[in-house]
Symmetry: C2
Subunit: 412 residues, 2 copies
């Protein structure tokens, strides 16, 4: 199966919006074993949309077209598809009724132009709208198919998973279910992971299902994604469980989470399970660790707060750090102890380092000292030498420190 992607919208060509939909679709299609050879962006121009649809249909089995399904006069994807199909648009009463009910439910009057969204190329199948007012469309064009979905990402995601992927899989004639599991790792490079998993990868290549892919996740480490095809969800889950275990046998200690878990959610969950509270003291990261922990709803039952001791005097006066070098393991430990005391938490976590651009007291840019003060009164510290670049160094500091705390919590 080959499936191309066309993103519609003059705002995309003008760079007012970055087209992230196509990348997301490319990733989903690849995981399902469907080739995406070509992706295009085209403006709100009927002739050009029609030409692009014809060109992409010529060398693909399917085309997903995103955007241009809204209610305004420049939303003309429906018209373009009808022209490619060689049919008329007609009002679909059921779709119209759903749109009207959506407005009624929100207590709002429906502007008449919303009924444009109920105009459907004759013969097209409807992907019922759930999150927005525009339905998706499944449009047969000879032996091939055009899927139309709204450009709003969260509407598009839902329709792709609910209707398009199953339809593509059915047309492919193979397995009817695809399930992925993402194992999130921190602490090794892609080539390092590849080396450690070479046995598993070779074994997988022989059986061909599931597949394994490495996905860089920016400052968040490397994700190992397993994707299984099967004839039922249960069968897919079983396959994933077997191969997840094999991957964990090799690199289990650097897997910090699965799927939607983040380093911060995992650390908060561990603390919650152990009935421990946390306070942080930050210098180099200036509040980013606290900011990430509090991004998780419900952090308040575990996270007490933080002290951003950016100026040295704040370290001395508020956290009772002894006067002297402030980028050292000793200072980090004292900061952690200070955080525990000032914030009345069970655990203290502290970060001090040099983000640059200039070195500080002859300590190199990229140096990070992390201190942990534990509930039993003991302290620990470690020094990292991180890549430079102020933003990069700070972001890597956040995840390095949280991972260090995670390891300490696991060891206890």
């Amino acid at each position: 199966m080959r499936c191309s992607v066309v993103a519609v919208g003059t705002e995309l060509l003008l760079g007012q919006i970055v087209d992230t939909n196509s990348a997301w679709l490319g990733e989903q299609l690849a995981a399902a074993g469907i080739d995406s050879l070509y992706q295009a962006k085209v403006g709100d121009n009927l002739a050009r949309i029609v030409a692009t649809l014809r060109a992409t249909l010529a060398d693909a089995d399917a085309v997903i077209i995103c955007g241009g399904l809204g209610p305004t006069h420049d939303d003309i994807t429906r018209e373009a598809i009808a022209e490619v199909m060689g049919v008329e648009l007609e009002l679909n009463d059921e779709v119209a009724l759903v749109i009207e009910q959506m407005f009624t439910a929100r207590g709002r009057r429906m502007p008449q132009n919303n009924l444009r969204q109920a105009m459907v190329p004759r013969g097209a199948r409807i992907i019922g709208q759930r999150r927005g007012t525009a339905p998706g469309l499944i449009c047969q064009v000879g032996e091939k198919v055009v899927y139309a979905v709204p450009g709003v990402p969260f509407e598009m995601f839902e329709m792709f998973e609910r209707a398009i992927l199953p339809d593509l899989l059915a047309r492919g004639g193979g397995a009817s279910t695809i399930k992925s599991r993402v194992l999130r790792t921190w602490g090794d490079s892609e080539s390092g992971l590849n080396e450690r998993l070479v046995g598993v990868i070779n074994e997988l290549e022989k059986v061909g299902n599931p597949t394994l892919a490495f996905l860089a996740s920016g400052w968040e480490g490397i994700n190992v994604r397993l994707t299984a095809k099967a004839h039922s969800v249960e069968e897919a889950e079983q396959l994933l469980a077997i191969w997840e275990a094999k991957v964990r046998d090799q690199v289990g200690e650097i897997i910090f989470g699965v799927d939607q878990q983040t380093m911060e959610s995992v650390v908060l969950d561990m603390l919650r399970q152990k009935n421990l509270t946390l306070g942080v003291a930050e210098s180099v990261t200036g509040g980013l660790v606290a900011g990430r922990l509090t991004a998780v709803a419900g952090a308040s039952d575990v996270f007490r707060g933080g002290v951003v001791s950016y100026a040295s005097e704040v370290k001395f006066d508020v956290l009772s750090v002894s006067r002297g070098p402030v980028v050292s393991e000793k200072a980090a430990q004292e900061m952690a102890v200070g955080a525990r005391k000032v914030l009345q938490s069970d655990i203290g976590l502290a970060l001090t380092g040099v983000a640059g651009p200039d070195e500080q007291d002859s300590i190199k840019v990229g140096t990070l000292c992390v201190g942990v003060a534990l509930a039993d009164g003991s302290t620990k510290a470690v020094t990292f030498h991180l890549p430079t670049g102020r933003e990069q160094m700070r972001q890597l500091s956040v995840i390095s420190a949280l991972n260090y705390l995670r390891q300490e919590l696991r060891a206890k």
Copy 2:
């Protein structure tokens, strides 16, 4: 002039990287009055790159192709262009020398495959490489032109501005210089700005130069971009100055910065100018305000630090807030006073609010109270009702609070 964009790389089709280059180019081309009708992504496949180049050249005057200029075997953009031009590749000695010198300067041995980057289609002009090892190319194809640039954004940006844009403008036969100025606003909607600037916009439409565009900047407000075409940099700057003044006449009070300035850099600069230091106390934003301020290199001469008082007891015990409701203007003012005292700063800024998902003590999600304690001992506070969604509410809180402080500093 019409200029299409082709992004090359299988990793783009697989969604491993989001193609932000095309959006950036689209924005730059639009600002220069050059139409971008079509943008495409294609994998590392010679036949498909050639086909895509031919198809895009058919209905554009110029094509910018990004990526595939590196040293490895799957970097085949050079080969594709040579095929479209109908010429051979040949080694360019000058380019080869520069690459060798780059390795020597870094004290590294040059892997031989790097010389692939010195292979150039016969007749192509070189855009000398400055940031990376691969040069750009200007390749005449009949009446039309193909520009090749590396896919690494910061290499591409530099070559576009230095060589491609001037070449495009020269081919267009019009003005030789394009300059933009971005006026960054916070506090009004795009339609509100449009209404207030309707006089300026009408006047501009008559003269046609500069142009004015509104660019939404996510949680950072709306940017008003003026773009002037002229025959010299001085002439362009003069035009921009005249029209910037007219825009400021209408909406000056909500313009917080120009071009690369950010809300945090502006606030830090104002404090520095007034020789004042800042301390913050954060609850709802959990460290994000401090995190943003410290993202600015050199913040340390103004920013003392922060207290993330997430748990109520930290507000009472560390910041000496009186016991009672913690999301109120009174609490925000007390937090600001506490921050000033604990952190020994001239100014205290405090945020307390409800990010959700649930309301807190019957206070609605989206409520933000900001308190400021000034150097003269006086305090002020304000309440915002922000859109909900935990991440959105928190990010809008950061910029709302910083803007409030900016206004207070300006008034003093």
